[in-house]
Symmetry: C2
Subunit: 190 residues, 2 copies
C-alpha cells in the first residue's frame, strides 16, 4: 500500500465571490481532521498556511495537548495531533514528502464540484494499492483554486450523496474520503 498524506489548504483558496483569499485555521479543523487521519492511517496531516500568527496559534494548540494537563487529560488527543505538520505552502509539503519517501507523491486535489476528467474512488483505491505515495489536498473556504486543480496529477470526483445538496463541511468530507479510500468495507469484510 502507498503512504497517504493529507493537506488542508488555507492559501490559496476561493471565497464565495470566487476570489483568491487566505482563510483562518480553525480549532475544529485541527482536531477533527487529525483524529480522522489517525483512524485511517494517514502518515502526515499538513496544515498549510503561510501566515505566521496562524502557525503560532496551531503550535500553541498542539503544545497544550501534548504536554502537562492536556496530555494527561486526553492522551489519545495528543497522539492524534502528533501527525500534524505545519507548512507554508503546498510545495513545501511536497518537498517534505519527497525527502521522507525518496520519491515524489501523486497529488490529488478534491472539490465538491463536478469537473472534467475526475478520477473515481475506485481509481484512487487502485493508486493506493501501489507504491507511490499519495497527497490528498482539501480546500478550506469555498475550495481550492483552479491553479491547484490544474497542477494536481488528478482531481477526485465529488462525494455523491443522495440529494442535490452537496455542502459538506471539509471535516466531514475528509472523513468520508479517507473511509472510502482505505476502508475494509470495500474489501467485502462487512
Amino acid at each position: 500500500m502507498s503512504s497517504l498524506y493529507l493537506g488542508l489548504v488555507h492559501y490559496p483558496v476561493l471565497n464565495k465571490h470566487n476570489e483568491i483569499v487566505q482563510t483562518s485555521v480553525t480549532n475544529l479543523d485541527i482536531h477533527d481532521i487529525a483524529r480522522s487521519a489517525s483512524v485511517f492511517g494517514i502518515n502526515k496531516y499538513f496544515i498549510i498556511t503561510p501566515d505566521l500568527p496562524q502557525t503560532e496559534y496551531i503550535q500553541k494548540v498542539i503544545q497544550f495537548w501534548q504536554s502537562g494537563s492536556g496530555q494527561s487529560y486526553n492522551p489519545d488527543r495528543s497522539r492524534a495531533l502528533s501527525i500534524i505538520e505545519i507548512t507554508n505552502s503546498i510545495s513545501e509539503s511536497l518537498k517534505l514528502i519527497t525527502t521522507q519517501e525518496g520519491m515524489q507523491p501523486i497529488v490529488i486535489s478534491t472539490t465538491a464540484r463536478k469537473m472534467d476528467d475526475q478520477i473515481t474512488f475506485e481509481q484512487i483505491r487502485n493508486l493506493h494499492s501501489k507504491d507511490q505515495p499519495l497527497l490528498l489536498l482539501f480546500g478550506t473556504g469555498y475550495g481550492l483554486t483552479d491553479d491547484i486543480h490544474n497542477e494536481a496529477d488528478h482531481i477526485l470526483q465529488p462525494i455523491d450523496g443522495t440529494e442535490d445538496y452537496n455542502h459538506l463541511s471539509v471535516r466531514s468530507a475528509v472523513a468520508i474520503v479517507l473511509d472510502r479510500i482505505t476502508s475494509a468495507v470495500y474489501k467485502g469484510r462487512n
Copy 2:
C-alpha cells in the same frame, strides 16, 4: 427505501469516568451534522437535550441562519438547518417519528466500542432497503449509556479504520455512517 432519522444525544451520555452526564450542545455539531444529514437524505436531525437554555441557544443559531442577513449570506446553510428538530428526550423523538410515519422506527444505537451482537453496515443497508423508518442514535461526550444500547433494537458495529486508534469526532462518525448506509458507492456505481 425507509425514511432515515438521526438523533444526537446530549443526555443521558457518559463522561470519561463512565458517569452519566448531560453535555453542552456545540455550534459545530449543529452545523456539520445538519449539512451531512442534508447531503445523505435524512428526514429529521433531532438534537436531543432536556436543557432549556441549550434549547434556546440552538433556536437562536437556527433563527440567525434562517432569517435576514444569515439567510441571504448563506441560503444553503439555512436549508440544512431546516431539518433540525429539538427534542427533550429520545422518547419524544420516537413519538414524533411515529406520528409522522404512522409506524414506530427501528432504533439503532452507535458506539466506538466492540460489543456483542452488533449489526454490520450491510445489515443496516438491508434494513434501509425496506419500509420501516430507522432512527440512528449518536452520543456526545464519551458515548451513549448502556441503557440506551439495551433498549435499542440494534447496536451498529463501530467504524473500522486501518489503525487501532478509533477516536473519531461524532461529526466525522456521523458523516461516515451516513455515507456507508446510503451511498451509491456500495451499489457499484463508482
